[in-house]
């Protein structure tokens, strides 16, 4: 069967070329805009970009997982079109996703056999195993074949994924953020493997946001920003500053205008910097260390204060511990070390309800999973977390629906929530209105501290603007706000102080005025100012 495969000629020319690829998702988001990309044989191509820059979407199109809205992919033999990842695999393109697609209770051999389209028989399994052993010999990629993969370390699981793709004898291997789950030693091993694969006439696309990595291993780097291809440079020619600059882009003001943050509405950075901050803040965090879902250290000894009358922003590429940090502070995750105090009371490991009682409001990152009970009505959602308050609870813990509905109507008025009424199901609301409902509910608690995680993600400009204004208003009313956002412009524009988080640590804490785009880009990519200098 392999002989039948159409093989592009190796050596000269290109292996695959993407022309004018555009992807518009059904909700109208333009993920990739008119991207041109050429992949050469025997090359490691780095794909660099922030969250939502379109890296994953573009590679998903190349690997047949998504159809492009416009544009085409051509090989030297003419245009190719993949209706499924399997067709792309048949052609010789394989992708290792950020979230592994392994059956936990199956062994490595079984997982690989499963990915082939032949029946899952004992003979087939034995054949797969023999082939895998040969492949492991050739590639130096070793994994235990007879252990259920759920018992393997994350790095080993990733190797199983790579083996799975290699066993299909691909020519182009795409790896989506492969190092985010690996230990430094495992990263070294992976990179050694990639070099060997390159020597074996394979092409590799490495998606990452880590500048150091991309510079250490790739031959060529393409940079994506907001779905557009903004750079295509040879690695030897590129400087760290240049890459950082390409990644995070130009001019803050310009971007700020685009989200309608004008100067009159925002105090200038200078003014903000003058506010005196000393002693312990309203929220006082010391040496907070927490593990992620896979058991790795996600938040690594972070200390900071959030003072009244300020927005403390945390910027950084997602998956660098921000989620775990927020969860630890709001009672959803039990950290392994450290303290976080509000008025001398340690909140770490406490129940969310106790933390709310101390005056904390939490605008969660995931509004569908955490923030709302979607089948519930507007009214039912509006009391989530405050349903035991005296205001809404009568004798015998009966809910006072009349009061609640009244409260909801007030919220709808004050926060401009468009809905047919308090009894409309929350899932019938648009994303913006859902978020306004959450923001309204949380602010109605009259909190002293507001933890806002990705408060404007996925919202249209109007709703995002409204929520940013509300946060600024709350700041001016003397609240302490912890803002976590992957939207760099948002964090820089709103925060009085900003921390850049990378691999569980703060790279720096300073006023946004003291940061230029280049430095931010480098810090987000894990390069400290000293290293860059």
């Amino acid at each position: 069967m392999r002989e039948e495969k159409q093989r592009p000629p190796a050596g000269n020319g290109y292996f695959l070329r993407a022309e004018g690829i555009t992807k518009v998702y059904s909700d109208g988001t333009v993920a990739v805009k008119d991207a041109q990309l050429e992949i050469h044989p025997r090359e490691i191509l780095g794909m660099l970009g922030e969250n939502g820059a379109g890296k994953t979407t573009l590679t998903k199109i190349l690997s047949g997982l998504l159809p492009p809205t416009k544009g085409r992919v051509i090989s030297p033999r003419g245009p190719v079109k993949f209706a499924s990842p399997r067709e792309a695999l048949d052609f010789g393109i394989g992708m290792v996703h950020q979230h592994f697609a392994l059956v936990g209770t199956f062994t490595a051999a079984e997982n690989v056999a499963l990915s082939h389209e032949r029946p899952f028989t004992r003979i087939q399994l034995a054949r797969t195993k023999k082939r895998l052993e040969r492949l492991m010999e050739e590639s130096g990629l070793r994994v235990p074949l007879d252990v259920p993969v759920e018992k393997l370390a994350v790095g080993e699981q990733q190797r199983v994924e790579v083996l799975k793709v290699l066993s299909r004898e691909v020519d182009l291997l795409i790896l989506d953020e492969p190092t985010s789950v690996l230990t430094p030693l495992e990263v070294d091993e992976l990179f050694a493997l990639l070099s060997r694969l390159k020597d074996a006439e394979k092409s590799i696309i490495l998606i990452t946001h880590k500048l150091k990595e991309v510079q250490s291993i790739t031959d060529r780097i393409v940079v994506l920003r907001h779905g557009e291809m903004v750079g295509d440079v040879r690695t030897v020619d590129a400087t760290t500053e240049q890459l950082a600059h390409l990644m995070v882009g130009e001019a803050l003001e310009e971007e700020a205008d685009a989200v309608e943050l004008s100067d009159e509405e925002l105090p200038t950075h200078k003014e903000r910097g003058e506010a005196r901050r000393s002693g312990e803040g309203l929220l006082h965090v010391v040496d907070l260390t927490a593990k992620g879902n896979t058991g790795e250290i996600a938040v690594d000894g972070v200390s900071f204060d959030v003072y009244a009358r300020e927005i403390f922003g945390i910027a950084g590429v997602e998956g660098n511990g921000q989620t775990e940090l927020v969860e630890s502070l709001t009672g959803l995750r039990v950290p392994i070390k450290g303290t976080a105090t509000i008025e001398g009371f340690n909140i770490l490991g406490k129940d969310p309800r106790e933390i709310y009682r101390l005056g904390v409001a939490h605008i969660p990152e995931d509004r569908w999973e955490l923030g709302l009970v979607l089948p519930f009505t507007l009214a039912e959602n509006a009391i989530l977390g405050v349903h035991r308050w005296e205001e809404f609870r009568g004798p015998l813990s009966f809910l006072r629906w009349r009061k609640i509905n009244q409260h909801v109507r007030q919220l709808m008025d004050r926060f401009e929530i468009q809905a047919t009424g308090p009894s409309a199901p929350a899932k019938s609301l648009s994303g913006g209105n859902q978020q306004k409902l959450i923001v309204g509910r949380e602010l109605a608690k009259d909190p002293a501290i507001i933890v806002a995680a990705q408060p404007t993600r996925g919202l249209d400009i109007g709703a995002a603007h409204y929520i940013r204004q509300t946060l600024l208003e709350m700041r001016d009313n003397g609240r302490a706000i912890l803002l976590v956002s992957a939207d760099l412009d948002e964090v820089l524009a709103l925060s009085d102080r900003v921390a850049i988080m990378y691999e569980g640590k703060f790279m720096t804490v300073c006023s946004p005025a003291d940061l230029d785009r280049e430095t931010v880009g480098m810090l987000m990519g894990g390069v400290t100012a000293k290293e860059a200098a």
Partner: protein, 386 residues
């Protein structure tokens, strides 16, 4: 198939799809009921019975007069309670199949009131408390296993149903047996019996107990903070945790409430079903068997809403009561099993809207499968030509 025909056909299918998925839950239940009866009719026809006559007999026997109606209500009385057991736990996000076993324990516990003398009124209350307590205790073990060890409630409650069945049988035969009539337990004294509501029928005041309990559950679930927490945790446990709700507490609570309901279901049979006011042990608990499982069907048709459950229980009670009449209906004696077939068909039909909701997904998989077949075909062609 021509292209236009294909397009119009798919439009038609989409229309049907939209209509069916947009149905009000009550209509879905109604539809399921009709489909179930239709399937029953087809089967009766195949076996040479006259479905029309049979259903006429069935409905006459179920709702044809005050005697028949009372008898249907009496059959529905315990079903309301066992259905509530299932529904409360489902609302809390769990699949509690333990109503059967908890109901056995409740029934046995209420027979115990035969052992002592109390004034009427108090005697009944004590009996109910016994039954509720026994049902709740029987639900505690699966609840604890789930909360502390993560044992899935489906497995543990099924096991506990069997334990309860044989334990109840043992107690009925050896401990509480009527010394004069070995096939049944002691009959509870008159002071502990619920009086008959309609003279000459077996409908007693327990129907009010069932309906009142359903209403109480309705108020708890939709009008108290506790019920709010139970429903929130059932629909989205993560959001509930974010809202400061302790999911383990809501699970525990719903299990206990469900146990109480099932225990009371057992009590309605012992204390409110003339003429024996006892449990027949010798015949392997014939009065109790399957009440818990039928309750699950009632809960599904009643859409897990206490009010819906009351209506659905009346319907299922009617099927049970009418089925007995259908069996003896002169020229056309349809066996009682046919009623169980209809019940099964209704339960299956209840899942039709859910299936249709999956339709787009099925369609996608179907096209993928066809594509796969085509590819294999192509490959064969190529191999042959090569």
């Amino acid at each position: 198939m021509s292209g236009t025909k294909g397009a119009s056909q798919s439009r038609f299918l989409r229309g049907v799809h939209r209509t069916l998925t947009g149905l009000h839950p009550a209509l879905e239940s109604l539809l399921a009921g009709v489909v179930g009866l239709l399937i029953g009719a087809i089967l009766m026809y195949i076996w040479g019975f006259d479905p029309w006559k049979a259903y006429l007999a069935l409905f006459k026997g179920a709702y044809g007069g005050s005697y028949e109606f009372s008898s249907s209500l009496a059959r529905g009385t315990p079903l309301i309670l066992t259905a509530l057991t299932f529904s409360i736990c489902l609302r809390a996000g769990m699949f509690n199949i333990g109503a059967e076993g908890q109901m056995y324990m409740g029934g046995i516990a209420s027979v115990c009131v035969a052992l002592f003398v109390l004034p009427p009124g108090l005697h009944q209350i004590v009996g109910l408390i016994f039954a509720a307590f026994a049902g709740a205790v029987w639900s505690l073990v699966p609840a604890f296993l789930k909360l502390t060890r993560g044992v899935h409630e489906v497995i543990s409650t099924i096991m506990f149903n069997w334990i309860a069945r044989w334990l109840a049988l043992y107690i009925a035969i050896f401990l509480l047996v009527d010394p004069r009539r070995a096939e049944k337990t002691l009959s509870i004294p008159v002071s502990a019996r619920f009086p008959v509501l309609v003279r000459g029928t077996d409908l007693s005041y327990t129907i009010f107990l069932s309906i009142a309990f359903a209403l109480v559950i309705y108020f708890i679930l939709w009008h108290t903070t506790v019920g709010y927490e139970v429903r929130a945790a059932g629909l989205n446990p993560t959001a509930a945790r974010y809202g400061g709700i302790k999911n383990k507490r809501t699970m525990f609570l719903s299990f206990v409430l469900g146990g109480v309901a099932a225990g009371l279901a057992g009590a309605t049979i012992v204390m409110g079903l003339p003429p024996t006011y006892a449990i027949y042990g010798g015949g392997a608990l014939p009065q109790l068997t399957n009440l818990g499982f039928d309750g699950m069907a009632v809960a599904m048709v009643g859409r897990n809403h206490p009010i819906g459950i009351i209506v659905a229980a009346l319907f299922f009670g009617g099927l049970n009561a009418g089925g007995r009449v259908m069996q003896f209906y002169g020229s056309n004696p349809v066996p009682l099993e046919m009623v169980r077939v209809v019940m099964g068909a209704i339960v299956l039909a209840m899942s039709i809207p859910e299936l249709i909701r999956l339709f787009p997904m099925l369609k996608k998989q179907g096209t993928e499968f066809i594509e796969l077949l085509r590819r294999i075909g192509r490959r064969k062609d190529r191999r042959q030509s090569a």
